[in-house]
Symmetry: C2
Subunit: 769 residues, 2 copies
């Protein structure tokens, strides 16, 4: 836990130079625009602790799997997002002495992530080893308006000297992934060029053959005027630069404006990339830094208009929720159905930038409510397009007849993870993908999606579940053996209640949707079942038999759903009775001890109750919450939000708020001591859910939005926007009551505390407290 970020409603601020926090700050102050992103590394050389990171969405490398002991079925490769060419680099020499904060006396260090306008600012005064003092101000951003572009304005003012300033803007492609399994370099150089005011470097990934061209164009402003300079081109293996020498006067500023473009062969012919990069550089430099910055502010204003949450009366909470939303917006814009949301976004390498079930279970609700429905549709299509590989993946594990097992971790649809207890057994992810389809359709009413894409995925998933269960002659019921639930502190367990519940729900929902599509779109239905050889009568009969005869563990004494068979054989010491010195158990205990314990990493039974809340009465929910939460250590960033929502549901406002706090400032306060690896992007969507579904009590009920809000004690008000079936509502909860503002041209009826409220187009109304 750290506490060095200054509270501000719109800005993330760090004051003072703390080299040992630097990697944490590099994560927190990350920039991105959905297409590319980067950690907050310094522009100038820095020889201190740093984790260099520049990423281009969708550009990955299949790194050869490294395991201790191979298990049949493991994938040969782990696709990971690559650390790409560094485009921010500007090397500075002061009379030949390199500017490097690790070797200077630094004062007035200030770093700001301006979330309102979407830029990163940094300033400092540095005294070099020989005593030269300079002031530097740098501002940069990844353009949201022009998502292949970025720009930097880097201003140097000699404070106590005049002399020769050598400025070398560069593009460095000779970078490595820190998590490379065999210390390989993943990029080869294709070509490069330099010219008087810039240059580019084109690189190609090994194996996958993605090409990325990264270019720079620069200009100089001295004493308020553009100066023409003469640059010396430098070309090295995987590196281009231009060296400029300027005479600087004491007290007089020199700025370099560096425009960068980053284009990938995903979107252009590789042969055209260099020309396209040059065009982009010409276009953006013609536009100019200030105009680009203004465009950036406008683009962000549009985002915020859509998905800001405003909290009055608690600046720390306000800053935190905005930080979460800001990072989500930086990570994924929903415009490209080949992309997805890595757990660390563009803020680090960990988890390989790949897609997890986080997307469907946590991120979809956020994008469904706060973005155009095409964004979620693209997330769904991403999985639809990977259906073939999910079927291959299931085949590899012995399934057949078009059964699909979506991978635990993936980039392009193939499985990338290699822990047998996860890769082969944490199969509930398949259910989350079906649930996201259900969620999408209930928010958007886009039933056409089901006929065109959704049903095909659902049948493949239902087929998987129908093969994954087996008949227990002993129990005379179907059982599901050898699974790992969301609570990964249990491995290879039998009859995980959550997984079994989700599995039969998938089969039920598949039958329901098959019937619906068959009735509504008979021709499409016929074409589909012929294409995938779906033997409707026989296969649905099997689904129904399983639905009817599935075994779900239940404890008759505690009257709770049992997380898995045998859970109550464990020693039942509650988390509150565990000495603080033993926690977090994932750092303090050996793995087997964790597995034997009753401790739960993240919502498991409660995740199922969260998903299918309507099926359980409030007392059932309470009993299960009261039983499981005290056994939960919340050692996953995805845990507190579900608990916050359920606590709110149960009327326990204090605990709901407590869980919210654990998730909302997770990275800002480096709560788990791991932010240096990157921010917990996917769990940020969970924070949003805590506010909207927790404090706002938002649900979908009878095809309508329903709210059951309460106002956390410290807050004066909070408000958020939600899109639902074409209407956009702003909901503001305050002491006065619940204000509903319809921001769209479509009238809608919502339920507030159970009562229907018609909100006309572009009107507002107050439901008094």
């Amino acid at each position: 836990m750290k506490d060095y970020i200054e509270v501000d409603e719109w800005r993330i601020i760090e004051r003072g130079f703390n080299p040992h926090h630097n990697k944490v700050s590099e994560s927190i102050f990350s920039l991105g625009n959905g297409r590319m992103g980067q950690r907050a590394n310094f522009e100038e050389t820095y020889s201190g602790e740093t984790l260099q990171g520049n990423y281009v969405a969708g550009v990955y490398y299949p790194d050869k799997t490294r395991v201790g002991w191979w298990k049949n079925g493991y994938p040969e490769y782990f696709a990971k997002v690559l650390n790409a060419a560094n485009w921010i680099g500007i090397d500075i020499l002061l009379d030949g002495e390199q500017l490097d904060l690790a070797k200077c006396e630094v004062s007035d260090f200030y770093r700001e992530l301006n979330m309102k306008k979407g830029y990163l600012e940094r300033s400092f005064t540095a005294k070099t080893a020989v005593g030269k003092v300079v002031k530097v101000e740098a501002i940069r951003f990844c353009s949201m308006a022009d998502d292949e572009a970025g720009a930097i304005k880097y201003t140097i003012t000699p404070i106590n000297f005049g002399g020769l300033l050598t400025i070398t803007p560069f593009i460095d492609g000779d970078i490595v992934n820190k998590d490379s399994n065999y210390d390989e370099k993943f990029w080869d150089e294709v070509k490069k060029e330099t010219w008087a005011t810039g240059g580019y470097l084109q690189m190609r990934t090994k194996k996958t053959g993605f090409e990325v061209t990264t270019g720079q164009e620069f200009s100089f402003v001295q004493n308020g005027k553009v100066v023409s300079t003469s640059a010396q081109s430098i070309q090295k293996e995987k590196y281009i630069a231009s060296k400029i020498e300027l005479q600087a006067k004491e007290g007089e500023s020199i700025s370099i404006i560096k425009y960068a473009a980053n284009l990938s062969s995903q979107n252009y012919n590789a042969a055209d990339l260099a020309a396209k990069v040059k065009q982009t550089l010409v276009r953006i430099s013609a536009k100019g830094f200030d105009t680009m910055l203004t465009e950036q502010a406008h683009a962000w204003a549009a985002k915020w208009k859509h998905n800001d949450i405003i909290i009055e009366g608690d600046a720390a909470a306000q800053q935190a929720i905005r930080f979460n939303i800001f990072q989500l917006n930086q990570t994924y814009t929903g415009e490209d159905d080949r992309l997805n949301i890595g757990p660390k976004g563009f803020t680090g390498e960990k988890y390989g930038g790949s897609t997890y079930w986080d997307t469907e279970a946590y991120c979809v609700p956020f994008y469904l409510s706060t973005a155009d429905q095409k964004v979620t549709r693209n997330l769904l299509l991403y999985r639809y397009k990977q259906l073939g590989k999910a079927i291959d993946n299931a085949k590899l594990l012995g399934f057949n007849n078009g059964a699909a097992l979506y991978p635990m971790v993936t980039m392009d649809g193939t499985e990338c993870h290699n822990e047998w207890e996860i890769t082969f057994e944490e199969i509930h992810r398949n259910g989350a993908i079906a649930y996201a389809i259900f969620n999408y359709v209930r928010y958007t009413a886009d039933e056409a999606y089901l006929a065109d894409y959704g049903l095909e995925v659902l049948i493949a998933i239902a087929r998987f579940w129908s093969q994954r269960v087996n008949w227990s002659a002993d129990k005379q019921q179907y059982v599901m053996l050898g699974v790992t639930g969301p609570n990964e502190y249990e491995n290879n367990i039998n009859n995980n209640w959550y997984t079994s519940t989700l599995a039969t729900w998938c089969m039920k929902y598949t039958i329901e949707i098959a019937d619906k599509v068959k009735a509504a779109e008979p021709a499409k239905y016929a074409a589909l079942i012929s294409k995938i050889n779906f033997k409707e009568a026989e296969e649905t009969a099997r689904f129904k038999d399983i639905i009817a005869k599935m075994y779900y563990p239940y404890d008759e004494k505690e009257h709770v759903f049992l997380q898995q068979d045998g859970y109550l054989d464990k020693e039942q010491i509650l988390v509150k009775d565990l000495p603080a010195s033993e926690r977090p158990i994932n750092q303090k205990w050996s793995w087997d001890r964790i597995l034997r314990s009753c401790y739960i990493k993240q919502a498991d039974v409660l995740q199922g109750i969260y998903f299918f809340e309507d099926q359980y009465d409030i007392e059932t929910i309470r009993r299960n919450f009261d039983f499981y939460e005290p056994r939960t250590v919340h050692e996953s960033s995805l845990s507190p939000c579900v608990h916050s929502i359920l606590a709110a549901k149960l009327g326990d406002e204090a605990r709901a708020y407590e869980f919210y706090l654990r998730t909302s400032r997770l990275d800002l306060d480096d709560y788990n001591n791991d932010t240096e690896d990157g921010c917990h992007i996917t769990s940020m969507a969970g924070t949003w859910m805590s506010v909207v579904e927790g404090f706002g009590g938002m649900r979908v009920r009878e095809d309508k939005l329903s709210f059951q809000p309460f106002l956390p004690g410290k807050w004066k008000s909070f408000s958020f926007n939600v899109g639902f079936r074409g209407a956009i509502l702003n909901i503001k909860v305050s002491a006065q009551g619940v204000q509903l503002k319809n921001l769209s041209g479509k009238e809608t009826t919502v339920l507030v505390y159970g009562k229907p409220q018609l909100v006309k187009a572009n009107h507002q109304l107050l439901v008094e407290a």
Copy 2:
């Protein structure tokens, strides 16, 4: 399955050159003398498929652990036996053309492992690319009489030419382990020297700092006479050699005799090694090749006198059992309590040459019966000496109060394995170590061992079990969660019947031995409990409570001990109903599918019944055997022997013989298609058990040996020796009955078919059929 080894009662014979069998033959024809060993690589250069292997017992390297995903508690290193300097090398040039069988036309290839006399012989005729024909005869051995020495006689006869023969005997230390995790080389050179007739190379292992000096001394015989030669010394990094040029005449033989010595800093000061190697070389070369070979035959005759099994009427069975005994003798001689028995002995790198529970469960019975009791005592002392590290290992996993968990895999007492489901959970190994103490004492009556060493180990193991169980409030019994039994096709299961049964047996046995030692050796007892802070009353009370209230899964319908909780939820398709195309499942199925299946890798419940046979009536044994064996795929080399013994016990002679066949020729016929990695040394002891405990029906009953033999149908007779409490008996089973011959000066009473028979010293008697 292969079938190219010629049947012979005393020899393993390969005829014809089969390069694609070469790695298998390299394993099968391996040599060793307990101190050093080697695969049957060729002396001359060979560019074809080969796995080079020279090993020095006890010289290991802690290779850095490689895992995909780290789990708390994993050891940082995996100690592995090192591939050491190659001392057999003799490079041959024929008029400058290298002799390399991969590049020649080879005829009359013959390879023989003479088990009676303990040497490897090879001969062939080779036609080189340019058409030169030579005949080569090579014979070599690792001396049993002088276990730091080896010798080679390598004879070349030009068949169709006369010319310049260049012979370069060398020592090559620039070798690698094929299984190195990070492609590191494990040896550094210390020093080297060459002289007119030899040289040495001294190497040091990285990290562990073992030094090994390997020397050679050579002489030449041409036309039956020793010739003096002038050698050109060659020294390269990690390599020494001497190049000799001789004029060879068509049809005239030239032999090189190469003596080698291999000394390690385990047994000498590193500074003295070079001098000692020189002394050894002087001594053995003075002795001469023929004398050494005669000594070798005598040493082996002594071994065979002790532990041969003679089978009349079935040469293949005779060859097989001798091969097993031969390899066991080559691997471990029991003279050094720092050494143990790697699963592959000196025949390959796999499993790192480390110690597994195989030693206690499978090898101890063999050595107990066939070798001086000090051999088993040394195996026990090996574990006693490692008790401190076993306590440290348990501490790392959260245990305390002197509880010990012996490692799954070890070289020096530290854990070396890194699969959580094995390393942390396959804890039954701890029980096997206690069982070996029990076994040793009942065979030897050496109760002093208990007071001096055994009890201390037993208490530490009992403490572990008493902490590893937990009280299930639900069951109102003690349970043992999260274990892996001998059947490794189940991971992280609850209440494995075998492990739980073994655990309470350990506690019972510990209490019994503690009482015994307390009564017999009160002073030693008092010293011990003070040293280890054993709170007798309190701790034994806890042991007794667990013994009284332990939960063992049992199925009331099948009336069998249940392998683990939930085993009967699995789909119960018997192995016989599994298509052949699906087997072996460990190659055909993904890991999760194996785990979910009912298939058993090796005896699990039945291993427990084998250990504690006396506790179960014959019908219980039969029900469990009839239930579990049909579900067992025997995909461990350790599986068939236990089933053979139990089938024999149940009177099913045909199946007992069938299981015996699967184990006895496992490597000779490359049954599992993996002999190229090395021979299955530890399971060879299981083969011996099949004959003695299976066909011979040997047990210990009421402090006496008991026999219940039967004669397999194909056999005329079989006989074996057993040492027991100072007496040595030869038992011969034939149609006439059971002949008992007392080879020792101590009379003994044994039970034959339940009836006591007194066998006087140096007398024999026949119990008629």
